[in-house]
């Protein structure tokens, strides 16, 4: 017996190891329970290293870009192309930094406005396996994260926490085939179950075929799943296929469209009403108005013109040209082609006659000013460029 075991020792060990793992799989599948201890060991071994690497990467990227690359560029400084390449690299880096700052700002604004209690987290790794739809974030039970909590971004839902470890958590993404969430349509108020497909597009199950579903509709969380609070954006209906007994609805999720770097974990979700209007694609920051005394008064208020009326430059031009037309008895919008146009170089006394910096003062056709304004994107909301200055210049009545 002993010689038999010695002879077939390798195959015996192989069979034992395989058998042990098969039992492990069977127990987990049958009881739907996880062997948490082994996972905790592995995650505790890997995630601290990932955090250290991430910290080193963040800290050293500036050094690498600003010193090593600059050093290389200095060596190749005689060649203009090298200089251009370096500037391009710098540009990409700065754009990335701005993008990062924008995302952080959007996250902070969202975090301060949402009634739910959230914890900000950074994605530090993805799940093992080439087709993984799972990520690891750097917040765990120490930060109050628990299994089953929802993970969102300002753009929409991202996934849910499937395992919480002390210093990290595993998040199942919305695109994973095992993911499901209750959703409700903003427009039609129909309900369904959102499921991942392993692709960037998700589908909604259990939408009765008699419901009217249109592409472009926004979907929100319904709150029925007890994971995602009601009222969080989910995505836009991309396509609808009629089928019996349920429609096939494909959804483009909005939460993952701009990549995943920073997310929010809903520690205490608060249900919200479904908004009437679709969410804006990006939060817009509106700064505080300038103080009243910040505008510098004119040097000689007695002789000089008073401050220009409020509005854009196009508003001022419109007022100016209207007064010039009124002074010469010209009515805009009337007159036949070829008739004499008003003299737009006429200087009027008072505030409206004050020449605007640029073309009006130089005697050039005044049409250039509003056209330039429109080109800078200042005029679209103002009809001045149509009524005051015709596109054909001064010859148009």
């Amino acid at each position: 017996m002993e010689s038999f075991l010695n002879r077939y020792r390798s195959i015996t060990v192989l069979l034992l190891v395989i058998l042990a793992q098969l039992v492990l799989v069977a127990v987990q599948v049958k009881n739907d329970q996880d062997v948490r201890m082994i996972r905790v060991w592995t995650v505790s071994a890997v995630t601290p290293v990932a955090r250290i690497v991430e910290a080193l990467r963040g800290g050293s990227s500036g050094l690498i870009r600003n010193y090593i690359l600059l050093h290389d560029a200095h060596e190749e400084n005689r060649r203009l192309q090298a200089e251009v390449d370096r500037l391009k690299l710098d540009s990409i880096y700065l754009k990335n930094e701005i993008g990062l700052a924008d995302r952080a700002k959007a996250l902070a604004v969202f975090q301060s406005h949402t009634p739910s209690k959230t914890v900000a987290a950074t994605v530090i790794g993805i799940g093992a396996g080439t087709n993984s739809k799972m990520v690891f974030v750097d917040r765990g039970t120490v930060s109050g994260v628990e299994r089953g909590m929802a993970v969102v971004t300002p753009d929409g839902i991202v996934g849910k926490v499937i395992t919480a470890y002390p210093t990290a958590s595993a998040v199942l993404l919305i695109t994973d085939p095992d993911f499901a969430a209750g959703v409700v349509s903003q427009k039609g108020q129909w309900r369904g179950t959102l499921r991942g497909q392993g692709t960037p597009i998700c589908r909604v199950d259990y939408v009765p075929f008699e419901e009217k579903v249109e592409p472009g509709e926004w979907l929100y969380t319904s709150g029925d799943d007890r994971i995602f609070p009601r009222g969080f954006p989910v995505g836009i209906v991309k396509a609808v296929h009629s089928a019996q007994p349920f429609k096939e609805v494909l959804v483009d999720p909005s939460g993952t469209t701009r990549g995943l770097e920073d997310v929010l974990i809903l520690v205490e979700g608060v249900h919200q009403p479904i908004p009437d209007a679709p969410p804006a694609n990006q939060p817009v920051f509106i700064g505080t108005p300038p103080p009243a005394g910040a505008v510098k008064p004119p040097d000689n208020p007695a002789s000089g013109p008073p401050a220009a009326p409020a509005g854009t430059e196009a508003d001022r031009l419109r007022t100016q040209y209207k007064d010039i037309g009124d002074a010469q008895g010209h009515k805009f919008g009337e007159g036949i082609p070829g008739s004499k146009p008003p003299d737009f170089n006429l200087k009027l006394p008072g505030p409206v006659g004050t020449p605007v910096a640029g073309p009006a003062a130089g005697g050039a056709p005044a049409a250039g000013a509003p056209a330039a304004s429109a080109g800078r994107g200042q005029a679209p909301a103002v009809p001045a460029s149509k009524s005051a200055v015709p596109p054909g210049g001064a010859s148009h009545p």
Partner: protein, 177 residues
């Protein structure tokens, strides 16, 4: 480093030299491979095709020329991968155990220092790994996982090419006797 280019089949097991590695290499290299797979694709998504843990398992199994050692490394690395995925523990563990065992078995018969042999073996074991994992997911979990043959072949080739370079690097960590 010189490869024995004369023949690729060993006439006896004595011809095959068993490579020894320092203990820290046996710990750090698999951990680094797992960390690579978890962390690097975050920033370089095109590198997500690389199955670094599998390459490391194949390398250690081939070079140690011990079936028990090979299957042990495979089981540990596979379980670690399972821990970092949503799979039940043991799915990748079983697959990597088999890869480690068979790689060690092959390593006892072939001249595994030959780069062409390494390329072919890595390619083969990648296909074996992918196919067996697909089979187990269908059989044990009842999930309909798609198996793209062409994609798997291409990924196998890419992994094999990277594997040969990686093996060349890992050769430098062997103990010199």
């Amino acid at each position: 480093m010189s490869y024995s280019g004369g023949h690729i089949l060993l006439s006896s097991q004595r011809e095959g030299q068993i490579s020894q590695f320092p203990a820290w290499v046996m710990v750090v290299v698999p951990l680094a491979a797992i960390l690579f797979q978890v962390y690097v694709p975050l920033f370089f998504q095109f590198l997500s095709f690389l199955e670094m843990p599998l390459l490391v398992v194949v390398y250690f199994a081939l070079m140690r020329r011990s079936q028990i050692s090979g299957l042990s490394v495979g089981a540990l690395v596979g379980l670690a991968q399972d821990s970092l995925s949503k799979n039940p523990l043991g799915m990748l563990g079983i697959v990597n155990t088999l890869v480690g065992y068979f790689a060690a078995s092959v390593g006892m018969r072939l001249d595994v220092d030959h780069p062409l042999i390494r390329l072919l073996l890595t390619f083969f074991f990648f296909l074996f790994h992918q196919f067996f994992y697909w089979l187990m997911v269908r059989a044990l979990l009842g999930q309909q996982l798609e198996f793209g043959t062409e994609r798997t072949l291409v990924l196998g080739l890419l992994n094999a090419v990277v594997g040969v370079s990686l093996f060349h690097f890992l050769d430098k960590l062997r103990k010199t006797t």
